[in-house]
Symmetry: C2
Amino acid sequence: MANITKKVSWSSRADESGITGEGTPLLNGSEQPRLSRQLSGGGRIFQIGRLSTVDLEEEISSEEQDSLRGRPKEIPHNEKLLSLKFESLDYDNIENQLFLEEERRMSYMGFRCLEISRWVVCGLIGFLTGLIACFIDIVVEEMAGIKYRVVKENIDKFTEVGGLSISLILWVVINSVFVMVGAILVACFEPIAAGSGIPQIKCYLNGVKIPRVVRLKTLLVKVFGVICSVVGGLAVGKEGPMIHSGAVVAAGVSQGRSTTLKKDLKMFEYFRRDTEKRDFVSAGAAAGVSAAFGAPVGGVLFSLEEGASFWNQMLTWRIFFASMISTFTLNFFLSIYHKNPGDLSNPGLINFGRFQNDSVAYNLYEIPLFIIMGAIGGLLGALFNKLNYWLTIFRIRYVHRPALQVIEAMLVAAVTTTVSFTMIYFSNDCQPLGPEHTEEYPLQLFCADGEYNSMATAFFNTPEKSVRSLFHNQPGTYNPLTLGLFTLTYFFLACWTYGLVVSAGVFIPSLLIGAAWGRLFGILLASITSTGSIWTDPGKYALIGAAAQLGGIVRMTLSLTVIMVEATGNVTYGLPIMLVLMTAKIVGDYFVEGLYDIHIKLQSVPFLHWDAPATSHWLTAREVMSSPVTCLNRIEKVGTIVDVLSNTSTNHNGFPVVTQGAGGEEPAKLCGLILRSQLIVLLKHKVFVELARSRLSLRKLQLKDFRDAYPRFPPIQSIHVSQDERECMMDLNEFMNATPYTVPQDTSLPRVFKLFRALGLRHLVVVDDENRVVGLVTRKDLARYHLGKHGLEELQLAQT
Amino acid sequence: MANITKKVSWSSRADESGITGEGTPLLNGSEQPRLSRQLSGGGRIFQIGRLSTVDLEEEISSEEQDSLRGRPKEIPHNEKLLSLKFESLDYDNIENQLFLEEERRMSYMGFRCLEISRWVVCGLIGFLTGLIACFIDIVVEEMAGIKYRVVKENIDKFTEVGGLSISLILWVVINSVFVMVGAILVACFEPIAAGSGIPQIKCYLNGVKIPRVVRLKTLLVKVFGVICSVVGGLAVGKEGPMIHSGAVVAAGVSQGRSTTLKKDLKMFEYFRRDTEKRDFVSAGAAAGVSAAFGAPVGGVLFSLEEGASFWNQMLTWRIFFASMISTFTLNFFLSIYHKNPGDLSNPGLINFGRFQNDSVAYNLYEIPLFIIMGAIGGLLGALFNKLNYWLTIFRIRYVHRPALQVIEAMLVAAVTTTVSFTMIYFSNDCQPLGPEHTEEYPLQLFCADGEYNSMATAFFNTPEKSVRSLFHNQPGTYNPLTLGLFTLTYFFLACWTYGLVVSAGVFIPSLLIGAAWGRLFGILLASITSTGSIWTDPGKYALIGAAAQLGGIVRMTLSLTVIMVEATGNVTYGLPIMLVLMTAKIVGDYFVEGLYDIHIKLQSVPFLHWDAPATSHWLTAREVMSSPVTCLNRIEKVGTIVDVLSNTSTNHNGFPVVTQGAGGEEPAKLCGLILRSQLIVLLKHKVFVELARSRLSLRKLQLKDFRDAYPRFPPIQSIHVSQDERECMMDLNEFMNATPYTVPQDTSLPRVFKLFRALGLRHLVVVDDENRVVGLVTRKDLARYHLGKHGLEELQLAQT
């Protein structure tokens, strides 16, 4: 059953990095904090000897590591756990001597150049994200067109002969094959590329290191996966994955190298640290939203809503710039593709079409109706989330082998197609073809000449086009029964689809479900009221319904409002959309959390919310912190360091550095903080005091060495340290962060939380009133507390 | 010449509060930092005796205080000074025992109720702000209508008789009287209400306490002042003041009481501290923007761009809610006023009108043109700002008496009117009246019947309507010469007008200037190119020009883009507006700062930017901090505290509390921080250890006592302390913030800055490695450093 955690969790391959989580001992608070320095002399030499045979380049397989660490084989999977395997990003700069020297050497012009290169990187991020969106859009459109022609020919041929079951089989096979390819790509090559990627990016922007989430390989799988799943006719959209794609592009471009390609352009080396990378990833995510919805402002707000801790104006502008370039690029290339070059007024993958003011003005007395729709959206969203939650639990338990996952995806594709076909077959909702043939994929089926089957259109179109036609088609285009049936089936299909091992988003299906019941609502309203002057156009109800349904599922408010407003291209609807989204959120939150939050919780990610739980003032740093903490001396024995680093199960990834008083009698004071990754680099380069003395010509270690190793530092096991070297000493003074943030042990949890969250810290040292280390607060110590039904609850920590 | 600082500066009446600035000694950095505890035994009893005769309620006149403090009489006024008289807001909660006890007592439901009341307050803020905007709009419209009818009748009567000079005089007199009333209101009753109020709100949101800026009296003067100046025909807008009005409403509503009205509703007492108040003021400012431009999202972004340090999602939503309610309220009441009740699609004071997509689509090859326009806007904006800078310097030197200020305002009104009249008189730009009589104020003058003078329209309309007609009128409505002349004159008039003692904004004049030259640009373009299919509509160039000019003057980007997009009601123009605003900012910043920043600098406000100057890594907390710092003991003698508080010239407003070692030999460790305001309340309530022992029934001091005194704590001079009481002791343990944020003395300036800015601190204690106090960092210590032309510069501190 170890496979459960291996195959379903986001970080299935996390173990390769060889870095384990912050091993917070579960016993704290009750225990009296004390300064304990676990410096085991040198008793584990056998282990060192064994491990030193491992080559530096060789990756340890995860099975081997599992057995090494004695990980429990079966873990009850629920949302009341916090996984220990997720690391924090270091958003706080490591201000050690090397860093300060570099910063001090740099002239004002140097900083200007850096700033300009940040803008250039953001421009590139926007451009590439736009290109990717454009590529996905064009390929999907072309392949959907081919598929439509093939199936239509077949159907036309068999409609009168009566052999429609052959058409059905043909269609099922085509769709299943596409979905199979997509599912195999994801399941076998990069499981992290499954789904929309929004929960993963949310976590990344929150400061959690999700392994492999921003790699080039993930991007490739994502792009081709999304094409396959959309063309395969699943109830999915291609918008969510754009956000993930943008983030990957950002991480790649800003680092100037790719691990997947094993290529280092030697550019932007200054940006090789978590602080800068996370900022660029924000820009990438924003550019993704911007390309997906043509919503540059919405993209910025999305990034801020999900990722910001500290609002920085220059950063916000750069994010905005990336968003702008992204939507511009997409728009420009799509305008060429659509043979209308230079027309820049359709700036997103999905375009809701223009709502002209005259036709769809709303009035004050419609506001209550909108709010009711918001409540319906909240209810339906909660139902959707709850169903999907159960389904996900089921999948975690029983569907965790790649083969099974691929088969499930194909099954969904087949069922989706069959249901569509059946509904098309039995619906007799014939509509006359418009004079201008506005419908792109009309299917005549059993309709009279000059008419088309509107149900077929709804199922055959890409979901984006269906949304648009629900918003804009003339009153009377859709039959209420058709809409009702469509809503019902699509709701369950979309719910089943989300969480499959295909890369696909939930935005568009949500919008589509909402638009369908919204339009139905509008039609019913028009049929109830007699005068019907203002109610005649059900399009606006479709829009409100779409907003309500999407809001009920994902529970975003501010950014989603702006995204919707930008996508409709009309500010007039800002107000009702806001109201609807707020209502949907309030109603939905009453029952169950948002879809993304559910999936984050099921992965046991230590996600930090905006504030500490309201009733947590009685907790202080003393109760929250992990203690005892392993400390190092300013000048420390190599053997000790190797032992400390090898003992991954109980140690953190940051070690307070302390200084012993002159007499040796006085207690040790905190004087710095050093990271596991820094120690690894030091060990790798053998920066030992004795060696420095003997070889005077030894090159001084520079920041560049740390940057080259970033972000995948080798595991301690891969570093060979001889018995002689173990007796050497290492001088940490130059490399440690000499001014770590600290809090006194009586600080209340909300205060600790605020400092931690606002500055994006990874380790926060707790000191007593004489500046002695008493504990360490990390992300998991803070994420553990949450408000449950019975007041403040503490999540369990698990190795899962 | 003491009047200079008294009458022109924002805080002319600041002295009433009796609190002086953080007295940072100018000698630091060079001096070796050491722990010096200035605890003068009891040598200044004579002073206490004298001061104790001052009654608690009596306010000390500022003259008296001037002489008391021996303030220098003449100070060279330039922008290289930092004033010591501005205080910081305490955005960080004071977590003392009282506070923690209250928070711990509160149940989860209690926090829910608080949260709900925050939403209610935000709703109220939005509602009232919307109402105020509505009131201003309706009054201005009605009075402008009356004025137009009176003048029109007169002109019509005299046009053919030839006595137009009488009309001119009538018009001049009417305008001057309006402006005079407005100027007298501002100059005599509340000088802080002058101008748009945006710089003041910017400073407030940045964390600087600007005295009297959020009082009810300021609001009243602002509202009536803006009505007078708009009706008086000045080149001003009513939008800027809305932001200030919203902020005042927010401060008033959230505190549940008004000092001006001497009324305490005993509501929302929990919100009586800087943290909560500043959050609500953000919401108020956003609601103001939202009401002014019908731009709720723009309002939120404005607040964030100007005010946010820590982005908090819940807070952002509340701000958004306030904005939404505000624009909704305004829209609703205006729709009733406009006899179109319930139509909710015109949500702002200014409404740019709808740009229909078909008519004004833009194309890729127009982007360079837009960028050129952005550069022009940047240049013109820089010119505007530079001229206004010189003018402001001149005003500070020579125009500082109220009488002179009122006369200047009247002069400007008279000149504006005369210039307008002359231009109308000499222009022969007759345009045919449209069939639907779209012009609201047509003036025939010397035009033929059925025609109207378009220059007269431009000058007679409220500026908002002129902007709209520049955007939307048919091609050919305006004669290029008219536009050119109009731009030129309006540019100088607006520049002269900004900074007068009238309450008025610069947004609309900027938009108008820009729209005028933008339209001119469009017309010239159309006349150069022959085909002219896309160039035919100069309206879009007017829009771009307006954006460029406004961006060039105020230099906002993200929020302004969104505001413009929301005000035009069309997302299509988002991209060009962004580009234009960015270009305008880059070009403008090359020459001179933004208008608001210039005015902030001229007031010597210690404004904290987003980051520390780039090249400041070589500075550490040790060089930056103020030292020596006055510390207090946990249990301190009342006499000492009174002496420390009386010595306002050298002390800060926060005092580290230290603990002496048991033997008296060990150095004193930091154990807390207490504020001057807290000590004042303790002294006022005579919370002395001896008294507590003798009177056991004494009511324990509660948080409520501190909240009641907030925000205007009495000066120390008003508190009577007898000679006996001076010998008593005060126990500070319960009241001090036991866990103040600290930094080690080697922390680099950027790191100190980041902590300070992100958490909105007021005092940051610098400690050595044994947790002993070595210094204190306050806002002025950080704001002092800025990047000048010759690298890092240090501003001088002055008592100004």
